[in-house]
Symmetry: C2
Subunit: 370 residues, 2 copies
């Protein structure tokens, strides 16, 4: 753009034009061949419940109607599920979409925002898009460091701090008690965005009670992970009703698609299927850990639908392992932040996909070592 | 919120907490009964093509996968359809979502943005959300006034101007030549957002050629209207590749749901069905116009999937007619801006819905006159 073309905002003009969001499909196009195992994006390979698939199929012919902009039925069902009032809940286009709105509510040019170096990149993308200044603190023992986050919040007088529990990309977690203690230690003027995307796959005692509502905490959950609906973009946030009401000012009111409303509602009603899927995810984590151990690597404990594996050396070595797996048609990803980058991250896959991983990992390790 | 709770941005704090987006479902909940005719939201009652429904049903089980963040296949198909390169196209969450991104690219606190008083409220909502200052010009003879828009752009040195062609809520249009003349008269530093949501239902000679690309024009189209997929949130913008590239900085990369990608692609490939639907929409417009005339009212010419009807008096009278129809279980809407508010707006419906409209309109008129 020159001086004679329309002028972007100061913030937009300052943003990088390339972004870190490369899907497996783009990699397949570059490679010129398909992956044999899709175990890199923390998707739920077991898919949505048969009852949910049937609900979607049945609703396909209704997609000419705009969605209900209030997300009324789904919001009511979520509120009942959480033991909250509907006024405590907002439904959005996945956690991504909701983090975008939350960011625009709290972040303007120069606002300091605290998060962990290596945590969720889409949040950072939203903060940058609002002109925020990211304050990045290091992980500690492969966990987001509550103490360091708190120090940074206080030092910067930050109105916003992001924490995921359980954590992506490390799979680690804090207990409910520790999280509540963190909430209590935060300045009342700091909003905590608590990302619980992997909440359903966590053991008892990790998630604070759903009805724990504070004026400076927003909690985020999704149908993308345990419910197996990543493609439909449906998540929700819950918190203090006065804070939740502010989402109305900025959210895209017709933005949650009608298929997501139908599928989300059906998924919420099929808790029996969810329970079975979570059992399969737990079994998948065990299998991935066994494969890691069999190859002399250290699987990190995980409360998510993936296992992060310490490759036992530095980031350069782990990158070679990753590249070796990709070259062998196994789609996986890895943490990139210093210290975390010694690991690769393997999502729970179908049995045949983990068989392929088990077969190809030793070859990728041998190649990386040579 | 008090001084002891997290601080919203200046812009967020200044926004109204109530919004104008009330869906027919909310009205049904308030009324305690369903509408008999849903002809108020400019939806396409004929629905998506059978081929599209089949594609959605077939893909339902795949919704556990994240969408391709590049929207590659759909973007390629759209580019081919438009006779453009994929670099000229961006796919988004409906025109609403794309207008949101475009607004954030060009609007910061205080930016003057020109549009017509009574034009698309969601665009105004986005502008307000970015702190923009709306400069509203009046319609002229029930059309967005190109001359007045241009004057306002020049007077305000506005970097952004919105125009829909064909127009919602009046159904009016400018010819391709007139639109191109308007583009040429605009300062090169002003970006035109040209909303062509109703482009497929317009007669020949209304849309400028698809390959007309200028550095200060972004054109928006959608699968929500003629393609009958409003519920899925899928639209696209096309324009200069350098401008389009900027959407990467701000868009929600995983935001277009996978079902929309599947359905959009299938819809684009079924142009025979589109042609038939457009014929039915044209026939529906004719029927609505006849009903209006039979009741002594004046239907405005329409290039869209609705007909705006001049009720022959003022806004108070038209509001009474609207309320009478709603009370008789007919969901319709009306323009609200002074001058335009003498009208009601009727979307093309199924035959039985237009039968109900034909039956209830005279009663609503009698009630309004009494």
């Amino acid at each position: 753009m020159t001086a004679n073309t329309p002028r972007f905002t100061k913030i937009a003009a300052g943003l990088p034009s390339t972004v870190p969001f490369v899907g497996p499909e783009a990699q397949e196009r570059t490679r010129g061949k398909l992956f044999r195992a899709r175990i890199g994006a923390n998707e739920n390979c077991f898919g949505p419940a048969p009852s949910v698939i049937a609900a979607m199929q049945s609703a396909a012919g209704e997609m000419w109607k705009y969605c209900d902009p209030d997300n009324y039925e789904l919001k009511q069902a979520l509120a009942a599920h959480l033991g909250l009032s509907a006024a405590n809940v907002v439904v959005g286009q996945g956690i991504d979409g909701l983090l975008g709105v939350a960011t625009r509510l709290f972040v303007e040019d120069g606002t300091p925002v605290v998060t962990s170096l290596g945590a969720y990149p889409t949040f950072n993308f939203h903060v940058a898009g609002s002109g925020g200044r990211l304050v990045l603190v290091e992980y500690e023992n492969d966990k987001e460091s509550l103490g360091t986050l708190l120090e940074a919040v206080r030092r910067e007088n930050a109105p916003l701090v992001y924490l995921s529990n359980p954590d992506n990309p490390m799979g680690s977690w804090w207990t409910s008690n520790e999280i509540v203690e963190f909430m209590s230690a935060l300045p009342s003027t700091t909003m905590l965005l608590l990302d619980e995307a992997y909440g359903e796959t966590a053991p008892q005692g990790v998630l604070p009670p759903a009805n724990l509502i504070r004026p400076n905490v927003l909690r985020f959950r999704t149908f993308s992970k345990a419910y197996g609906l990543a493609g439909l973009r449906c998540g929700y946030a819950f918190g203090d009703a006065d804070v939740i009401a502010n989402f109305e000012k900025m959210r895209d009111h017709y933005g949650v698609n009608k298929m997501a409303q139908v599928a989300g509602l059906a998924a919420l009603h099929d808790q029996a299927y969810l329970k079975k899927v979570v059992e399969r995810i737990v079994a998948g984590r065990r299998r991935i850990a066994e494969i890691a151990v069999a190859n002399g690597l250290v699987p990190l404990p995980s409360a998510t639908n993936f296992v992060t594996i310490d490759c036992g050396s530095d980031g350069i070595f782990a990158k070679k392992v990753l590249d070796g797996l990709l070259a062998r048609d196994v789609f996986v990803r890895k943490p990139m932040a210093p210290g975390l980058d010694r690991c690769i991250r393997i999502s729970v896959g179908l049995d045949y996909e983990l068989d392929i991983f088990a077969e190809e990992l030793p070859k990728a390790l041998t190649a990386a070592r040579s």
